[in-house]
């Protein structure tokens, strides 16, 4: 298992390098322009100077090499310096700078992480916690009232887009009833009971929207996987041996059913970090999703490049984690 993990990690390096090059090339070929947001009153000569200051006048390969150096050498060194307080060399090195804000990209990402993890992460956690029992009961009592209602809600949650449910909830709960704020306050510091209540209130609507979506998606997988296993021979054997129904269901069937579900859940974790672009926009959570979409709209290439690359790293990593978990859940699977 250990050598397998090491081998996979080493193999990830060329994969990630290739990914970074492809992202960089794609962004370079895209026709959007970082200066398109500027008012037309800024004359062409000045635009040329701004372009040069961003380094856009340099050839493609040089820009790519610079980004590699900044991302793989300068940024880790900078993080190391900040953690240890040591200074390596002069301590002055070019960091990956966003074009729109002219500030280090990594700082922007660090700033956006908390609200994304709170809102998107929490809704994913709720989604998983709700989906597994719903899926298990739905499968065990197939075609019962519970299953029918569960299926109906899952279908609604799956097919109604979050930009609709989000705005609907705002109109009902913020505009009419005025129970919850429609705008997320990223500056809120939770240090007292009242600020905690405030935090819960402002998280309620976006978390609700996303939980509905996540639950519907995962509960369908759990249900389908449970149904596959419930009709297996080993289940009949267990029952014939007189094993208690609870043990049959929760130990034998559930454990085997979780194998495909774990893959789905593990591969879904990187999407927490990429944020929920639409929901974040609707509620102004301004997390990583909003950061990514504004960067794409403003053609802030260093920011888009860095963010997408970090997502790529997470996806590769969680693929590996899913594979390792396979081996733990199913003793038949051995990699060595």
């Amino acid at each position: 298992m250990f050598t397998f993990t090491i081998r996979r990690l080493l193999f990830a390096i060329p994969t990630l390098l290739a990914i970074s090059f492809i992202i960089f090339a794609l962004l370079d070929l895209a026709p959007s322009d970082p200066l398109s947001d500027l008012p037309l009153t800024i004359p062409p000569e000045v635009r040329e100077q701004i372009r040069a200051a961003m380094g856009l006048d340099q050839p493609f390969l040089i820009r790519y090499m610079k980004w590699l150096q900044q991302f793989f050498i300068n940024e880790p060194l900078n993080i190391f310096e900040q953690l240890t307080g040591l200074t390596i060399g002069t301590g002055e090195r070019m960091r990956v700078l966003s074009w729109a804000t002219r500030s280090p990209v990594v700082d922007l990402i660090v700033q956006r992480l908390p609200q994304t993890l709170w809102v998107v992460g929490l809704s994913y956690l709720f989604g998983v916690l709700l989906a597994i029992p719903i899926g298990v009961i739905s499968a065990y009592r197939q075609y019962s009232i519970f299953d029918q209602i569960g299926t109906f809600i899952a279908m609604v949650g799956y097919s109604v887009p979050t930009f609709f449910t989000g705005v609907l909830l705002i109109v009902v709960f913020s505009s009419w009833l005025q129970w919850f704020p429609s705008i997320y306050d990223t500056n809120l510091v939770v240090d007292s009971w009242s600020s905690f209540v405030m935090q819960v209130k402002q998280m309620f609507l976006p978390v609700l929207v996303l939980t509905l979506y996540n639950t519907s998606q995962i509960s369908r997988f759990v249900r389908a996987s449970m149904l596959d296993n419930l009709h297996m021979d080993y289940v009949r054997t267990a029952r014939a041996k007189g094993v208690k129904e609870k043990v049959v269901l929760l130990v034998h069937v559930l454990r085997n059913s979780l194998i495909p579900v774990v893959t789905v859940i593990a591969l879904g974790v990187p999407t927490i970090f990429s944020g929920a672009i639409i929901t974040e926009q609707v509620f102004r959570v301004n997390g990583l999703g909003q950061l990514l979409i504004t960067a794409i709209q403003g053609a802030d290439i260093p920011l888009v490049q860095t963010l997408t690359f970090i997502f790529a790293v997470l996806i590769v990593l969680f693929n590996l984690i899913a594979d390792v978990l396979y081996g733990i859940l199913d003793p038949r699977i051995r990699y060595d």
């Binding site: 026709p31 947001d37 004359p43 729109a100 002219r102 505009s175 705008i183 306050d185 403003g298």
Partner: protein
């Protein structure tokens, strides 16, 4: 005795007048909540140039003088506006001398001096800095300190309109001490200074989260001890225009929302909640349709849309151009897409009032009969398919614009109007960040204009139209030689026009300048260089509980945020 009475009465009157606006003391009105759905990326307008950054920064850093809601210059850091009459502008128009208000302090308590002004000029003109407001310092040969509070700006050539450097929200003063190590290539590395510039304005940046939210506190050293009325301010960003409007007009969570580009009927429904209203300021924005005078047929290859391609087979005919303008019903377009935020216009120079021509209003009223007659007389015969034709050339055009719901609705209306005079158009829309991006490698930019007609909005900063009108000169036509850069997107070229622009550059008197500017405007409209459609306003949503907002299209909308207060 009688005299004493008079003086007493006069001073009492003066007291009541000057006392009236200062109803509140500094910091008594709590938190001011502003929403910019396009979030602020940096607080340094020299590094960004975007309108949202200029507006956000205007709460903190200020220029020597700025434009008020009527477009008149008002002194901010200066004691008065220098003119030739008061001796502030040299008689040869080659220099301007500003005097700083006495005892001005930065928010950190240090005095504001002429050195800061000199530094600001150096900062924006430093090589490799890519200063976004470089145009404001164009033609400035030197900035010097006559004494600690007197700034002399010299120009290479006489400047009839010398109010550009350090005037208006786009070129505010920055503190030399804070930015001294941030010149040129180092400018973007000074993140903390760029995110929290020390200023002279009513507010100080407390925390800046780029593209998200800015929090401010009142400036303890602001020059008016009674202002600002608000103790803190929050400038939130993100989302879209409609939900920003809702947060002011319906839920009342915010006090002010900028740039409400939302369909008029949606706003009207929201306003029924009675929590606020939309205020509109009219600046110089004109939505226009450009008509390409050069050939754009794909068979022309690299020559498309350049002089080498030769004249456009249909649009070279003045009758066609005029008919296209006459066939448009601007009132319908205005009603459908703009409501109170727009007015039909035939002028490409729609404001300030002194420059507004009334000589070209022939196009204001739709006249299909006249348009059809023009085309008939010019020999464009109606074909069996309802499309006019002459010598094998059909009046069939490609009509492009940026992707935006109002623009697509306008395209559909214009298409219908033109079909009534035998002109057919194919509609196309290009994503705004490509269309306005100016990437020389992309064929879809508005500068390249690889279409017969295209639609967008343009305007100019401040109130002086000289630079804007110079944008129609022959040498400003974008071409491969100029890397497709140049303001003359419509590719208008008329030696008479060029000569008149040069004359404008030599004329100092405002009245004479207005006469010339109107003439230039009329030339463009009568030659139908382009078709002006709508004079667009800037709509913003203002809460009913907010007082003192004076919508301003000539400078930052937050120009007088120091005077805003909570309605009691």
């Amino acid at each position: 005795m009688k005299k004493l009475h008079l003086i007493l009465a006069a001073s009492a009157a003066a007291l009541t007048i000057s006392g009236a606006p200062a109803m509140a003391d500094r910091g008594t009105d709590g938190d001011l909540k502003i929403i910019f759905w396009q979030a602020v990326s940096t607080m340094n307008p020299y590094l960004s140039g975007g309108t949202k950054e200029v507006y956000g920064a205007s709460m903190v850093i200020e220029p020597l003088a700025r434009y008020d809601e009527t477009g008149a210059l008002v002194p901010m850091l200066a004691t008065e506006i220098p003119t030739v009459e008061n001796g502030g502008v040299a008689a040869d128009l080659k220099s301007i001398t500003w005097k700083l208000k006495p005892d001005l302090k930065w928010s950190d308590g240090t005095p504001v001096t002429a050195e800061d002004a000199i530094f600001t000029w150096k900062y924006c003109t430093a090589p490799d800095g890519g200063c976004a407001q470089g145009a404001y310092f164009e033609g400035v040969s030197n900035v010097e300190a006559v004494d600690a509070s007197t700034i002399k700006i010299s120009f290479t050539d006489p400047k009839p309109y010398p109010y550009s450097a350090l005037v208006g929200g786009q070129s505010p003063l920055i503190q030399a001490a804070q930015f001294k190590d941030c010149l040129g290539i180092k400018a973007p590395e000074c993140t903390s200074a760029n995110f929290g510039p020390i200023g002279t304005g009513p507010f100080v940046v407390k925390e800046f989260k780029p593209n998200d939210v800015v929090t401010f506190t009142a400036n303890p050293n602001y020059r008016d001890a009674a202002k600002p009325a608000f103790a803190t301010a929050t400038l939130k960003g993100g989302g879209d225009a409609a939900s920003a409007a809702r947060s002011v007009l319906e839920t009342g969570e915010f006090d002010y929302a900028w740039n409400m580009q939302v369909e008029p009927e949606v706003l009207a429904t929201m306003m029924q909640a009675g929590k606020g209203k939309i205020e509109v300021a009219f600046g110089t924005q004109v939505e226009r349709i450009d008509l390409n005078p050069f050939g754009v047929d794909p068979s022309l290859g690299d020559k498309r849309s350049t002089k080498e391609a030769g004249p456009h087979p249909a649009l070279k005919d003045p009758a066609v151009r005029k008919a296209l303008s006459l066939a448009i019903d601007r009132d319908i377009i205005d009603e459908a897409g703009y409501g109170d935020n727009g007015k039909p216009t035939c002028n490409i120079l729609p404001a300030p009032d002194i420059y507004v021509s009334t000589a070209v209003d022939w196009c204001l009223k739709q006249d299909l009969e006249a348009a059809n007659k023009l085309l008939d007389d010019a020999g464009w015969k109606m074909g069996s398919d309802g499309i006019r034709e002459k010598d094998g050339v059909k009046l069939s055009f490609l009509y492009q614009t940026s992707t935006n719901s109002v623009r697509q609705a306008t395209q559909a209306l214009v298409k219908d109007m033109w079909s009534q005079i035998g002109v057919t158009v194919e509609l196309r829309n290009v994503s705004a960040n490509v269309f306005f991006g100016g990437d020389p490698a992309s064929p879809d930019t508005f500068q390249k204009f690889m279409a017969d007609v295209q639609m967008y909005t343009n305007n100019f900063d401040g109130t002086d139209p000289e630079k804007y009108m110079a944008g129609w000169m022959c040498d400003k036509i974008p071409s491969p030689a100029s890397g497709w850069q140049g303001e003359n997107i419509v590719r208008y070229c008329n030696p008479e026009y060029d000569a008149l622009v040069k004359e404008l550059g030599k004329t100092g008197k405002l009245e004479d300048r207005a006469v010339i500017a109107k003439k230039l405007n009329d030339m463009l409209s009568n030659d139908v260089a382009q078709i002006p459609l709508i004079h667009r306003g800037q709509p913003s949503a203002v809460s009913a509980t907010l007082e003192g907002v004076k919508m301003n299209a000539w400078d930052s909308e937050l120009w007088n945020v120091a005077d805003w207060s909570r309605k009691k």
